[in-house]
């Protein structure tokens, strides 16, 4: 079972601030992401979802613990090495698309590859664009695209370098329900058909319903998780967080 997991976080600790006002964002959080699977991370606000994702993506550092991307230990890696890592081994999809307005759709898609100084695989890019339905939009600038189209360009950009893991941060947050459905369907296909490992942070139970697995964070710890979630099951689990929270004595 060599590298059955694409990325594996163990006992991550991250504290913001010091003294009485210190906030422990990650409190011995451990999470393994299966290779080629579409994993959703859920949890109430302030549970540490974003911090965990940023740490695993090499965007942020942790105080203690281990993050293994394949055979590489991320914790303790220099800023410079993490920067280089982000170019090709990790992909991102943001809630607010985050396309570079000055570049065309195609240039945006090729951006990580160009930063890495690599030649884009044009066949692969065309396949991505076609699958995502943006093949005829490649010469347009972001301002000339709809929200759904912009997000699909962002997805293509994340997948362009065939990274080991793609992280998606609330990717459907800014989309209407039709565009959301299309996007989530594509992410699921990318995992199943192309073997792309995808980690999605979301607070939308119906989005989580498209994933192969859902893990739940609470108070900086992974507290629960199950395979083949449905929107109803996720909603049910989330409701219990609210109850648990209400039971905590003030």
């Amino acid at each position: 079972m060599t590298f059955q997991h694409a990325i594996e976080a163990t006992d991550l600790v991250k504290t913001y601030g010091t003294g009485p006002t210190a906030v422990r964002a990650l409190d011995h959080a451990s999470l393994s992401i299966g290779r080629g699977r579409f994993t959703a991370i859920m949890g109430p606000s302030g549970s540490g979802k974003s911090t965990l994702m940023h740490a695993m993506a090499g965007l942020d550092t942790v105080d203690a613990g281990s993050i293994r991307l394949g055979d590489l230990e991320l914790v303790g890696l220099s800023e410079k090495k993490r920067t280089l890592l982000r170019r090709t081994r990790i992909g991102f999809i943001f809630q607010s698309y985050n396309l570079v307005p000055a570049l065309t759709a195609k240039e945006n898609i090729e951006l990580p590859l160009r930063l890495a100084g690599k030649k884009a695989d044009s066949g692969w890019l065309l396949e991505l664009a076609t699958t995502l339905g943006i093949a005829d939009r490649l010469t347009h600038r972001p301002a000339e695209l709809s929200g759904g189209q912009q997000q699909r360009v962002a997805v293509a950009r994340a997948l362009a370098a065939r990274p080991e893991v793609v992280f998606a941060d609330e990717p459907t947050g800014a989309l209407d329900s039709r565009a959301s459905t299309a996007l989530l369907t594509f992410l699921r296909r990318a995992a199943h058909d192309l073997g792309q490992t995808i980690v999605m942070v979301t607070h939308d139970p119906s989005a989580a319903g498209y994933a192969d697995r859902v893990d739940f964070l609470s108070d900086g710890r992974v507290v629960d998780g199950f395979d083949n979630p449905t929107a109803a099951l996720v909603l049910d689990r989330m409701a219990r967080f609210d109850v648990e929270r209400d039971e905590v004595p003030a």
Partner: protein, 837 residues
């Protein structure tokens, strides 16, 4: 809305700080130049008031006018008998004889500079109180002003030579002040006994002035003396002297004032670009906020008004600071002007309410006018913009603006080029201004290809491409940043090309016309020359001299203005200069009359045979027949437009000084040998210099160098602000793109690449400014030199190495301007940048 405007100013104080600095600089130039000229004016007035405080009337030789071209006319010494006539009058209490003139002090062969040499008069009639030592009472005793003694490191007991037309050995016996200060506001003074002054000035027993006091009211003693002494002698009151002094002061300061006012205008134009930029930056930053205000019910007019009030506040604060800075910097300006040998008087500053009013009004007006464009854009923000995610500045540039700009540029260019083909000179200035306005209007579009071209070099890399796109994203802002720098650069280029062309033309003209090997001139900068007539007599005796001829300069009144004329030997002049005539012959001057330059003949429609009315200080109005018309080129090489023979000169003027002596080497002698021989022979005349062609040309182009130096330094200040404008624009560009930078970093762009991206942006702006500035400066100087060529033989000279240096400095400055923003961009934390709204 006014409270809203105040709140805005406070909220954006850092960004507005640059605006303040830009306005401040322009205003400080304005107030500085006003203070400086008021101060100078008052000092001249004070000087005359102090100098005449103890005297009721001054008796001196009458002249038709008192000063010309900033120089007091030379008066003939009065015979000693006048003193007797004055003393004979019953009502005269005291009558003190004075001989005065200019002399140079020298110490063991070292020249200490030019001094006003005058006769020691005890207080209260004299205006130089003795501060230390004794008053002079023997031949060779000298008292100098304490300020000069301090500057030159002289003290009582030091021995000197006082070199006038005659050199006299002297010893410092005392130090004097002037009024309440340590010395006169302009220049230095040396005081001796009457006999010493008379010997140095070789006037025998002649007197320059007699200072008279009386019991009678001033008007009565004045008329009594005037009746007694006749019309050859003038009896002047203190008021008469002060009026003459004021006139002299005004023309002395004219050039400096013109330079300073031109610089104020330039600084304000550069300031206006930066003001417009800062306001459009601040407004685009708060589009959302403006939209909310609009949605809350504010009308577009109210938004417009609030932005203009904001400009008013900024303008007022900056102008107030500018006035203060201007006053303080006056000290610096004085030092600066002195570095370039432009003389400015010392003393307490005169700050008139008018100065403050004008400076503040100009500063506020420029700020508000520059803010009109951004304010109108702010007023046009729709309430709906509040709902949009982001509202970047429009990428497009109004078609009307571009067409109007191009039209203005075309009209302006045609207008400024027209004088080259004989149109009136006035069109040059108007055309250049119009063309500049056109360039500013069309710049956002016109600069696009320039920026694109400059940016192409680096666009193969991601940082390069992004930098280029960033500069094209807000074309107006980029254009304003580029133009602020380009304008300053264009002015520098303009001044250096026109200056170089004038210098080269002067030199070429001189070489072409003057064939003399050596010219003997005074080392001092006497307007009319200060070579004693004895020098000529010695020169003609020297074996190495083949031919020598003297030139004399004189002033005369031409209606209201003062002109200069040259007295020359009509026969000998042709041996040392190539005299080309349009009509008549220079030798015709032997029979009297005047030769005029071609351009004067054309302007005033004069021909040979006409009578020219000329007013002379000593001989009054005369009618001189025009006997010839000389070409402009030789006239300019000889430096005046009017020529008379030395005999005519002697009849019109009583000055005995030669302006210069033109010398040709003898047959067996080289110019170098001639120079050596002359220098050896003229050692006794320390104020006389033997100059070869190169030295004469350098002397004649000195003024061009002075103006160029002064303008360059002043412009450099304005350019520093323009460079800071790049940093400001970049800082904003980064602020606007914070999230984009976060994104690029998240996708693996290194800190170095981010810094490079910003740096490239700075370089693109700087290089675009260099290109634009060079083009504008060179084009402008072509039209200016073209226009000049219609009145003087001049062709364009482009000092390429000098331009390279200027352009290089600007490019490097642009690079440096990018450093801080680049560092800031590189240092942005990724996650926070991504979260930036």
């Amino acid at each position: 809305m006014i409270r809203f405007a105040f709140a805005q100013v406070l909220a954006h104080r850092v960004r507005l700080a640059l605006t303040v600095v830009a306005v401040m600089l322009g205003v400080s130039f304005v107030s500085g130049s006003l203070v400086l000229s008021d101060t100078a004016q008052r000092l001249f007035d004070d000087q005359f008031a102090t100098a005449t405080a103890g005297t009721d009337v001054t008796v001196r030789t009458a002249t038709a006018f008192d000063s010309g071209m900033g120089v007091e006319v030379e008066r003939d010494p009065m015979p000693a008998s006048v003193l007797a006539d004055v003393t004979a009058l019953d009502d005269v209490m005291t009558a003190v004889p004075v001989a005065k003139g200019t002399a140079r002090l020298q110490q063991q062969g070292t020249d200490l500079g030019s001094f006003q040499l005058t006769t020691w008069v005890d207080e209260p009639i004299g205006s130089y109180p003795l501060l230390d030592g004794d008053a002079p009472n023997r031949l060779g005793d000298v008292v100098i002003d304490k300020a000069a003694a301090t500057t030159l490191g002289l003290s009582i007991g030091d021995t000197l030579t006082i070199a006038g037309t005659e050199a006299v050995d002297a010893r410092i016996v005392g130090l004097a002040g002037f009024g309440d200060s340590d010395g006169p506001p302009v220049g230095s003074v040396a005081l001796t006994t009457l006999a010493t002054a008379q010997e140095v000035l070789t006037v025998r027993d002649g007197l320059s002035e007699i200072l008279v006091t009386s019991d009678l009211p001033v008007a009565e003693i004045q008329s009594a003396l005037a009746d007694e002494l006749g019309s050859d002698i003038q009896v002047a009151t203190a008021q008469d002297l002060a009026a003459a002094g004021a006139e002299q002061a005004a023309s002395n300061l004219e050039m400096l004032q013109i330079v300073l006012i031109a610089m104020s205008v330039a600084a304000l134009i550069i300031g206006a670009f930066l003001i417009a930029n800062t306001f459009s930056i601040v407004i685009s930053q708060r589009t959302r906020e403006l939209a909310v205000v609009r949605a809350a019910g504010a009308t577009g007019k109210q938004v417009l008004a609030s932005v203009l009030v904001e400009a008013l506040i900024v303008g007022a604060v900056a102008s107030a600071a500018g006035v203060a800075l201007g006053i303080v910097s006056t000290y610096g300006l004085r030092a600066l002007a002195r570095t370039f040998d432009v003389s400015i008087p010392d003393g307490d500053l005169v700050i008139l309410p008018r100065t403050i009013l004008i400076a503040v009004a100009v500063g506020v007006a420029v700020t508000v006018v520059a803010a009109i464009g951004p304010a109108r854009r702010a007023a046009a923000v729709s309430p709906l913009a509040a709902m949009r995610a982001s509202a970047a500045e429009a990428r497009g540039v109004g078609r009307f603006r571009v067409i109007a700009g191009a039209a203005l540029l075309a009209v302006g260019a045609a207008g400024s080029a027209a004088p080259s083909f004989g149109a009136p000179m006035l069109l040059l200035g108007a055309g250049l201004v119009l063309a500049l306005v056109g360039v500013v209007m069309a710049a956002p579009l016109a600069l696009r290809p320039v920026v694109a071209l400059v940016g192409r070099a680096g666009s193969r890399t991601v940082p390069g491409q992004l930098a280029r796109d960033a500069t094209l994203r807000a074309p107006r802002r980029t254009a304003a940043t580029v133009m602020a720098l380009a304008f300053g650069l264009a002015l520098m280029v303009f001044v250096s090309i026109v200056g170089d062309s004038v210098k080269t033309a002067t030199g070429a003209q001189y070489r072409e016309v003057i064939s003399a090997d050596v010219v003997i001139e005074s080392a001092g900068q006497e307007m009319l020359g200060g070579v004693h007539s004895a020098v000529y007599d010695e020169v003609v005796e020297i074996a190495e001299v083949g031919e020598a001829t003297r030139l004399k300069y004189g002033h005369w009144k031409d209606g209201k203005t003062t002109s200069a004329l040259t007295g020359l030997d009509p026969d000998a002049i042709s041996t040392v200069a190539r005299i080309q005539m349009v009509d008549g012959d220079i030798a015709d001057l032997n029979g009297g009359g005047v030769v005029i330059a071609e351009r004067v003949a054309t302007d005033r429609d004069l021909t040979v045979g006409d009578q020219l009315p000329m007013t002379f200080a000593r001989t009054g109005e005369q009618q001189l027949p025009i006997v010839g018309i000389i070409e402009d080129r030789p006239a300019q090489a000889l430096q005046t437009d009017y020529f008379v023979s030395l005999d005519t000169y002697a009849a019109l003027f009583t000055e005995d000084m030669d302006a210069s002596i033109f010398v040709l080497a003898g047959d067996e002698t080289t110019p170098a040998e001639l120079t050596t021989a002359l220098q050896a022979e003229l050692r006794d005349h320390p104020t006389v210099q033997v100059r070869d062609q190169a030295a004469v040309i350098a002397g004649r182009t000195q003024t061009v160098d002075q103006i160029f130096g002064l303008v360059t330094v002043l412009l450099a200040f304005a350019m520093v602000i323009a460079v800071l404008g790049i940093a400001n624009t970049l800082a904003l560009s980064i602020l606007e793109r914070t999230r984009e930078i976060g994104l690029l970093r998240s996708m693996g762009m290194s800190r170095g690449s981010v810094a490079l991206m910003v740096q490239v942006e700075a370089v693109i702006v700087a290089v675009a400014a260099v290109v634009t500035g060079l083009v504008l400066g060179v084009a402008g100087s072509f039209t200016a030199v073209g226009a000049l060529s219609t009145i003087a033989p001049i062709s364009i000279m482009i000092p390429v190495p000098q331009l390279f240096v200027i352009a290089g400095i600007v490019a490097v400055a642009g690079l440096l301007a990018g450093l801080a923003p680049a560092r800031r961009a590189a240092g942005l934390p990724v996650l926070e940048a991504l979260a930036h709204a």
